[in-house]
């Protein structure tokens, strides 16, 4: 079992500049911020390394940080073997929100990433099946959980606002 700081150090030694920050100044558990485009390699390392063995992706969620003009993805990881947990975060631009998919590492990421795509429009590169999961397939009004989203007047002839 390792705490988040030790895991951060292991990652820092292995990936160096791709691991950006260890953030502890908030009431949540510490956050390890990494480079967006390296997330697949980092996750694959976290899941396969003997002393880490993060075999479970507990949650994957998108967040719109509109004040910083960024879209972020949080990864809650747990190792049921070593009983330790960490929280990873990546940020990407709102104009071109592209993140490598981690479906190769954890199959369970498939629908989580589809949801983040559906709600925030984050493109997960190399995702096997990146379609909308909750909204209708022909929804053209954008991504509903973005802070600057506006609902359309009509969808398929049905009035949407109250």
């Amino acid at each position: 079992m390792k705490n988040a700081e030790e895991i951060f150090q292991i990652l820092k030694n292995k990936f160096q500049d791709s691991v950006l920050e260890f953030k502890t100044d908030q009431p949540t558990e510490p956050i390890i911020i990494v480079q967006a485009l390296e997330i697949d390699k980092i996750c694959s390392f976290l899941s396969s390394e003997d002393e880490l063995q993060f075999n479970s992706l507990v949650n994957l969620s998108g967040v719109d940080e509109i004040k910083e003009n960024k879209l972020s993805v949080y990864y809650h990881l747990e190792s049921t073997i070593h009983r330790h947990k960490i929280l990873l975060k990546i940020s990407t631009s709102r104009e071109k929100p592209e993140v490598p998919s981690v479906v190769e590492v954890w199959q369970g990421a498939n629908w989580h990433e589809r949801e983040a795509y559906d709600m925030f429009g984050i493109i997960f590169l190399n995702h096997p099946d990146l379609r909308r999961i909750l909204m209708p397939y022909d929804w053209e009004a954008g991504y509903p959980l973005r802070k600057d989203y506006e609902n359309p007047e009509y969808y398929q002839g049905m009035k949407v606002p109250y």
């Binding site: 209708p136 398929q156 049905m158 949407v160």
Partner: protein, 163 residues
């Protein structure tokens, strides 16, 4: 001997209007489309189960819209579901009835303002006969809604309609 027994014993004839007989038959066996949407559907299932026994009013779930008389919209109608509900309704044969059950299907309910995915009332896609308020309505409320629908059917006229 009761009045009814005596009348049958004497002549075997009951005099009534065609409308009354047809309406009595129709309102006494309203088959509902076996179909539920959200938490209201749980109350609807409870209404069908033994304690509240929807079947005593002749309501049984029929898992095909083509052989059903009434559709109970039991829950939140999302925009994605609304197109399917419309199709289900169109597949039902006339005469057909709609009970809108609960706040969501009446007017959008708690999703009225920020529900980007919710249709604000099922009456925007299909005509509703009875609105049952509640979130979700208790089985008693749904039973009352059904009684209101029966009352409506009792006062209709199939014969005059077909002219």
């Amino acid at each position: 001997m009761g009045l009814l027994d005596k009348e049958f014993a004497d002549t075997n004839i009951v005099i009534s209007t065609t409308d009354d007989v047809l309406n009595w038959a129709r309102l006494s066996s309203l088959w509902q489309v076996s179909f539920g949407l959200a938490c209201c559907a749980i109350e609807m299932m409870a209404t069908s189960a033994s304690h509240y026994d929807f079947d005593r009013f002749g309501v049984i779930p029929r898992p095909s819209p083509r052989q059903a008389d009434v559709i109970i919209i039991s829950g939140t109608v999302t925009l994605k579901m609304a197109t399917r509900i419309k199709r289900l309704y169109e597949q039902m044969p006339d005469p057909k009835y709609v009970i809108s059950m609960g706040s969501c299907s009446n007017c959008g309910g708690p999703y009225w303002e920020h529900g980007y995915h919710v249709l604000k009332g099922v009456d925007r896609v299909i005509p509703v006969d009875v609105y049952v308020p509640g979130c979700p309505p208790r089985p008693e409320a749904l039973l009352e809604g059904l009684l209101k629908l029966q009352e409506k059917i009792r006062n209709e006229s199939m014969v005059r309609k077909s002219k």
